[in-house]
């Protein structure tokens, strides 16, 4: 199970990446994260929503109310242009960190 700190740090890039593939809503976003990570990244579902609202406040995503399959009110999110730009920056930074760690761990295993 991935550490809580790492899950928290990766929450914004994960959400932006999923929304860059199309409009979605909270439950579906969580499901997608679980599916792609093969259940290794686990959030308490309710913790996703403050992240979504923060991204919305910062203008990286927008939301609108719609209706779910059962007719319940549901909030749908989609990424904005600013969000797409922020995602590019996040990708670059995470890739840098990943490359640096791989270099160090690769060197230490040699």
């Amino acid at each position: 199970m991935t550490s809580k700190k790492l899950v928290a740090a990766s929450s914004e890039p994960l959400v932006l990446s999923i929304l860059s593939q199309g409009e979605s809503y909270g439950y579906a976003i969580i499901q997608r994260v679980r599916q792609i990570s093969e259940e290794t990244l686990q959030w308490t579902d309710g913790m996703l929503y403050p992240v979504l609202h923060r991204l919305e406040r910062n203008g990286l995503i927008v939301a609108q109310w719609g209706a779910g399959e059962s007719g319940r009110r549901r909030r749908y999110y989609r990424i904005t242009q600013d969000g797409s730009k922020a995602l590019v920056t996040e990708k670059r930074e995470w890739q840098k960190v990943n490359a640096t760690l791989n270099e160090l761990w690769g060197a230490s295993n040699a």
Partner: protein, 224 residues
């Protein structure tokens, strides 16, 4: 035995009672909870077990409210309202006196503002000072905790400079008075500089800088 509607009502009431989750956010979470419940009913034989599974999946009330509490932000309007109330009350008190204008003494005010402004710009540069003011008023969740701490230093310095400039203005006023002690009719400006300077320095320190720092600190705690 509780019906589903009763369970939902109790859950909504518990979230609303926390004061950290707004009504529309509860509605959004309710959709999530009921989606989880619908799926859990395929797995669990009873409604009660499916409800418990959905609750566990969505998160306990305490976990949800804790996460939402971290994201609570104070709007710039609320922040300015606080200062507005202070200034408004002071203005009201001053205006009810016989000569309200006596509380305004431009030389002392300019003296204090110049010392504080000049000191801050000399210590941090104009862009960092402006950044600190902007972050304090508007807030930004994209600020790292270390960056917030650096910006807090601007307000800490401003706080000390405000008190210092008030004291310096007071001393300058006393020196002015001592120069003209032989003519009591001339001691007015010196006395005014002394007392007004101290007043302006204290207000700037405690009302402006202390509050601005607190807003930033609250933001740092909320995003940590």
């Amino acid at each position: 035995m509780h019906s589903l509607d009763q369970r939902i009502t109790a859950w909504r009431r518990a979230l609303a009672a926390s004061g950290t989750v707004q009504d529309w956010q509860i509605t959004e979470l309710e959709d999530h909870l009921l989606t989880a419940f619908d799926l859990a009913q395929e797995e669990f034989p009873s409604e009660a077990l499916a409800w418990e599974a959905a609750l566990e999946r969505t998160g306990s009330i305490s976990v949800i409210t804790e996460e939402f509490a971290k994201e609570q932000v104070m709007s710039p309007l609320s922040k300015l309202a606080g200062i507005g109330i202070t200034v408004g009350m002071l203005a009201f008190v001053i205006s009810t006196g016989p000569t309200p204008i006596v509380f305004l003494f431009m030389p002392a005010l300019l003296f204090v503002l110049a010392l504080v402004g000049g000191g801050l710009v000399a210590s941090f540069g104009p862009s960092k000072v402006l950044r600190a003011v902007n972050a304090s008023l508007r807030g930004s969740s994209r600020l790292e905790a270390a960056e917030v701490q650096t910006l807090c230093e601007v307000f800490d310095r401003g706080y000390r400079l405000a008190w210092m400039s008030g004291v310096v203005a007071c001393i300058a006023g006393v020196i002015q008075m001592l120069q003209v002690l032989s003519d009591p009719t001339q001691i007015g400006p010196g006395l005014a500089t002394c007392l007004h300077g101290l007043l302006y320095g204290a207000l700037l320190a405690e009302v402006v800088f202390a509050n601005a720092r607190q807003w930033l600190v609250v933001r740092a705690r909320a995003t940590s």
